[in-house]
Amino acid sequence: MTRPVRVAVAGNPNVGKTSLFNLLTGSRYKVGNYPGITVETREGSLRAAGATAAGAPAPVLVDLPGTYSLTPFAEDEAVAFRTLTGIRGERRPDAVLLVLDASNLARNLYLALQVFELGLPCVVALNMVDLARDAGVGVEPELLAAALGVPVVATVARTGEGLDELAACLGQLEPGAGTEPRLVEPGADQPALRGCLAELEAGAELRGARARWLLAAEAAGQLELCGASPVEREQLARLEPGAVADAIRELVELRYAEVDRLLAELPTAELPAAERGPSDRAGRSKLAGDDSRAPAMRRSAKIDAVLTHRVLGPLTFLLVMALIFQSIFSWADPIMGWIEAGVGALSGLVADVLGPGLFTDLLTEGVLAGVGNVVVFVPQIALLFLFIGLLEDSGYMARAAFIIDRLMARVGLNGKAFVPLLSGYACAIPAIMSTRTISSFKDRVVTILMIPYMSCSARLPVYTLLIGALFVANARVLGPFTSGGLILLSMYLLSTLSALALGAIYKRTLLVSPTPPLVLELPPYRLPRVRDTLRQVWDRTADFLRDAGTIILAVTIVLWGLLSFPRVDEAELGPGETAIEHSVAGRVGKALEPALEPIGQDWRMGIGLIGSFAAREVMVSTLGLVYGIENADEDDAPLREVIREAEAEDGSPRYTKLSGLALMVFFVYACQCMSTLAVVRRETRSWRWPAFMLVSMTVIAYLAALVVFQGGRLLGLG
C-alpha cells in the first residue's frame, strides 16, 4: 500500500486555518507536540477523501502554527519553518495547503511567494471570500489561480462553502511529487543580494531557496531557530553584516514588488465611489500594496471606535478581564463543589463496602483523593480556555494586548502575559497552561515563574483561618475597613508587587531577552466558530488530565503515605497526642522545628506545611488532624479557637499575631502546591524549572517570614 500524502497546512495567523483544518479532518486529529517545546501541531486524515485514487490512503493534513513569513522569530514560527523545509531528519511534507485571507492578499501573498520557493505542489484555499466580497475586494479564484499558477479554491469555513472542492483538490495530490522551486532572482537593482547569494552558492551547502531563507534568518539573528547546520552558519558568518542587511532589504522589496505586480493584474470588484480616497489613481488596483486603505477593516474600525477608545477601551478591557476572573474565581466554584462532593460520596461508598482498614484508606485518602485533586481543576481550566479561545478567535485578544501593552512593557513582557497573570489570582494551574499564547520561550518561562506568586484562591482559607484565630478580624480600623480586611488586602498587594518585581528581575538576569517587540496584527473582528473553541478546550483539558494529572495523583498517594505511616494504635497515644505526630510527616515536622522557630512556628505548623504541599488549603484540614479536630476544612471555628488558646510549655500563647503574620507572609511566597510544579513540568518539558521554582520560592518565603518575625520582635511587637 502506498503511504498517505502528507499535506502541511500553512498560512498567516487569523486566516481561519484551524477552522478549515477541523472541517477537512472532521475534527478527528492527534495533537502532537514538537519535541522539547510546547508548540502544538495537529495531524489528521482528510475526511472527505472520495476523490482519492482507488486504494490510495486519504491524505494526512498537518496543521502548522500561523506565520507571516518563513523567517522564524519565535518557537511557534520555527516549528512552521522546520516542518515546511523538513530539515534535521524530519520528513518534508509532500504538498502544502496554503490558506490565504481573501480580503487581505496584499500581505498574505508574501508568504505565498515563500511557499512557492519550497518546490512543493501547492493548493491555495482562498478563505473568507464572503467577507472579501462584502468588503468589495472579492477576487475570482480562477484568475488568482492563473496568476499564481496553482489550483485555488474559494472557501468559507463558517458555511462550509468550497470544502468539497478543496477536498477533491487535495485528494489528487501524489506523494513525492516535487516541483521546481520558484525563486525570486536578483537583478541589477539588487547588488547586495546578488553578491551575497553568489558568495553562498560558491560553497557546497547553501543554495537556492534555503540560501534566501537563511540569509533572512542571519539578518534577523534567528539562525538558532532555523536549525542551521554548523557548515551553513560558517558560510553565513563569512558574509559582511552590512551586506546581509542590505541583501535582505532588497530580497523583501523584490518579493513585495512581485506581490504588487500580481495584484495589479487582478481585476477586483469595484469599490463604491464613496470609498475612493483622494489618493486613488486611475488604473490602479484597489488591492495593491501602495493603497493604504483597508476595506476589510471598515466594520471593525467602527467596533474599535468603542473597544480601543481612549476611555471606553480601558473600561471594556476591565469589564472583560473582570468577567474572566469572576468565571474562574467563583463560577467554577459550584462545579468544583460537586466534584468534591462526588469524590467524597464515592470514598464513603468504598469505605462502607470494604470496611475500615489500610487498603480502604489507601483507596479513599490516596487514590480517590488524588483523582479528586486532579479533576477539581477541570472547571477552571475549561472556563479559562473557553474565554481565551473566544476572545482570541473574535479578534479581541489583540485589542486587549494593544491596550495593556504599555504597562506590561514596563516589566519587560508583552501584553499577552496579562491574562495568564490575572488568572493566577484564581488558580496557578490554568494560568500557567494559558501562557502558551506567548510565543517566546524565555518570556513564557518568566511569566510562568511569576504566576505562583499571584495570590491564588487556595491561599484564602489559610489567610482567613489565621486572621480569624489570631486577630480581631472585625475590629474597625479606618472608616468601613476592618483589620481583617486590611491584612487580607496587604497580602494581595504584597503578592502582586512581589510577582511584578521578581518578573522584572528574572527578565534581566536569569532569562535575559529584549522586551519582545510588538508587531501585533489587529485583525478584523469575526464571530468565533464555537465548535473550534470547544474542541480546543477539550484538547487542553485532556492534555492536563493525561500529563499533569498522573503526577498529581502519584504525589497525593505519596503524601498520604507520609502523613499515615508508621501507623500507631490509638490506645497508645498520650494525652493530647494525635496519630499524625508519629507519622513520617510528623517526625519531619518535629525535626524541622529548629528551622521553624526563627519564623515563629512550631512543629505542628511544620506538619501543616508538609500536608499543604498537596494544595495550600489542605493546611487547614492537616492542622485539624494535628489538633484532633475533624472536618476542620468545612468549619474552621473550632480550629481557630484551639489555635487562639494554644499555650507553649511556659504558659505563654503558642501563636501570636506576629507569628500568624509571619506564616501568612510565608504563604504569599511559598510554592505549597505540587500541582503547580506538575503543570510547570508539563509546560516547560523539564524538571529544571519546577525544581528552580520550588527552591527559589521556598527560600524567598522563609527569608520573608524571618524578616517579618525577627523584625517584629526587634520592634517589640508580638
Partner: protein, 76 residues
C-alpha cells in the same frame, strides 16, 4: 521624519527601515517596504503603542519600533 511623528489620521510613504537585526527584518516582512503608504489610525489609550494601517490591514507597533521607519510625503 519617522513613523512615530505622524499625527492621527495622517498618511505617508515609507522611505526606509533603519537599523539591523530581528526587528528590521520583521518590519520589512510585514510590509514596511519603501513606497508603501502607511496611516496612523490610533494611539492606544496609554499613548503607546500605535495602530497603523498599511497594505490593507492594521498593525500595532510601539513608538520605539515605529521610530525605525523613515517616512516622507506626509499628507492627510
Amino acid at each position: 521624519m519617522t513613523l512615530d511623528e505622524l499625527d492621527l489620521g495622517q498618511r505617508a510613504q515609507v522611505r526606509a527601515v533603519t537599523g539591523r537585526g530581528s526587528m528590521s527584518v520583521r518590519l520589512l516582512e510585514m510590509g514596511f517596504v519603501p513606497g508603501v503608504e502607511v496611516a496612523l489610525v490610533k494611539r492606544a489609550p496609554l499613548g503607546d503603542p500605535l495602530e497603523l494601517r498599511l497594505r490593507g490591514y492594521h498593525v500595532s507597533l510601539r513608538r520605539a519600533e515605529a521610530r525605525r521607519v523613515e517616512i516622507s510625503g506626509v499628507g492627510a
